[in-house]
Symmetry: C2
């Protein structure tokens, strides 16, 4: 049996191999993906994002436990910040998910950022498709950090959970404001900490302003809930899973579920095309042009035009 | 007098206009940049990065004051996280820099992330070149957040200052570990806060491990200093500026200063070429291919190949 067929029966080893092939740019990865692609589009993709220190990994761990209790198979994609120099991922948080590693119905995969712009979104999307083909009911995508990574998760997910935490400084609250509009569910974790009431008020205010400003991503019928949790004590976790389930139902009944999936695949095709050309351009770049730029004899904009011409002449159509 | 000539005499209005043109993709931006490009490469570009809540904006503000005291003209590029939906930047931190806004020898420019992968690095680089042409001695590039943004700053700067802060959680310390190897200077800000000693020990340990693992970016002769600061009280600021100056001298004496500049321009040319093609691909994409992907009749990898072919056939060589 080949990897694609094994993968469709849910064999973890086959899934891990396909994801590795895709990450490495091994052609067997794209072949496998092509074979299983028609079987994707079923999994509910849930992004979990928020500032560092919000306890996202612990929350994900608790969500896995609750989803398993409800009989669902769960995939997790954890995006670790990693050094662009060593390529090493930070493993501390993964260790805390340890108790699920022996459960055959839970598949946890860490993805390093590797310092490649656009590469992270691509790898994450590839991994989502593979887990989807393996018939995981739910795929949790957890990102650490604030900024572009979060936006990529939002673009990828059916449902986005924004995790806040009491007592972080002004700057973090400001950063979070940029994400408020993207969230479908809001959770204040570590709710037994000092400052919970203040943070809750801030979130409420932001949600109120948002409601006034526009209708929601999930249609008029969805009003983003604001939930409290203490993930370390499993408090509030069942409510979060209930809310995630309700959001999925609404997305399905409005047709938004399929629309978000379709949009995701289209963006992925465009992203892959761009990445391919990027590789081609770097490979075919005329050293004389690059030297002229380095010596400030030719500006980068002019040079970019020549590099494109260069690549077009060399690349087989 | 045209914008390029005005800009070279340091006229702020001309600089602001050129940066806006470049941001908007107005062809006059690239023309202006081409005209002033030979006059760039002199400014010392200093990245200021670290986790949210580290007080980077306050620190930048204090650094401006000290640099001005030493008679230098200072450019600042502040990268704000912004919503991909509204495009709005968060302005709170900028307000704190208010006291410098009337000083003609300080130019502060905020750049929103706009949710475009790769776009942030390009805009920042463009703005750096314009400020460089305007003969600012020093350009401080401040990023908020952790992750790809920081890595882009590191790629852009001659000198990178990593700002830490006592008492942030494990997760933030872990994130910071990924950046440790990228720093040329380390500053623990808010040094009067509880937990300073612990954070100082952690930083020392990480720097020690790093020294053992490899030689430094600035050559063997540079040992990254670990400094303490209380930016709100102007404490430790002069020491930081001294260290930044020393780093510049060493970069210049080893030839690394010019090498980092050259590498930056080369990367920019490649980035611009990729961005241009990305626009072309999105513009020329055959709707039939995109529909096939959306309906899961064709996988994204296969579709990306066809999209490239598509674009090559339509694009004028």
């Amino acid at each position: 049996m080949d990897v694609a067929s094994e993968l469709l029966t849910g064999t973890i080893l086959a899934g891990a191999r396909a994801i590795r092939w895709l990450d490495d740019g091994d052609p067997r990865g794209a072949q496998t993906l092509a074979a299983v692609f028609p079987h994707t589009g079923r999994a509910h993709i849930v992004g979990i994002t928020g500032p560092p220190g919000a306890g996202k990994s612990t929350l994900v761990n608790a969500l896995i436990t609750e989803e398993r209790r409800r009989g669902r198979r769960v995939g997790v994609i954890a995006i670790d910040p990693s050094s662009p120099f060593t390529g090493g991922a930070i493993l501390g948080d993964r260790v805390r998910m340890g108790k699920h590693t022996l459960d055959p119905d839970v598949f946890i995969r860490s993805i390093g950022t590797r310092g490649q712009a656009g590469g992270l979104a691509r790898s994450t999307h590839d991994a989502c498709l593979i887990l989807d083909a393996m018939a995981y009911d739910l795929i949790l995508v957890e990102t650490v950090g604030v900024g572009q990574d979060e936006i990529d998760v939002v673009a990828l997910a059916h449902s986005t959970v924004i995790v806040g935490v009491p007592g972080l400084g002004d700057e973090i609250q400001a950063v979070k404001a940029g994400l408020m509009e993207a969230g479908d569910l809001f959770v204040i974790n570590k709710a037994d900490r000092e400052g919970y009431e203040d943070t809750h008020r801030q979130f409420e205010l932001m949600l109120h302003l948002r409601t006034e400003a526009k209708t929601h991503g999930g249609g008029e019928s969805w009003s983003p809930p604001l939930l409290r949790a203490i993930a370390t004590k499993d408090e509030g976790i069942a409510d979060i899973v209930d809310a995630i389930d309700r959001h999925k139902e609404i997305l399905q009944s409005t047709g938004e579920f399929g629309l978000r999936s379709a949009q995701r695949e289209r963006e992925q095709a465009l992203t892959l095309a761009c990445a391919e050309i990027m590789r081609g351009i770097k490979h075919s770049a005329d050293p004389a042009i690059l030297s002229a730029v380095e010596n400030r004899e030719m500006d980068p904009y002019r040079a970019s035009q020549l590099l494109i011409k260069n690549w077009q002449e060399k690349a087989p159509v």
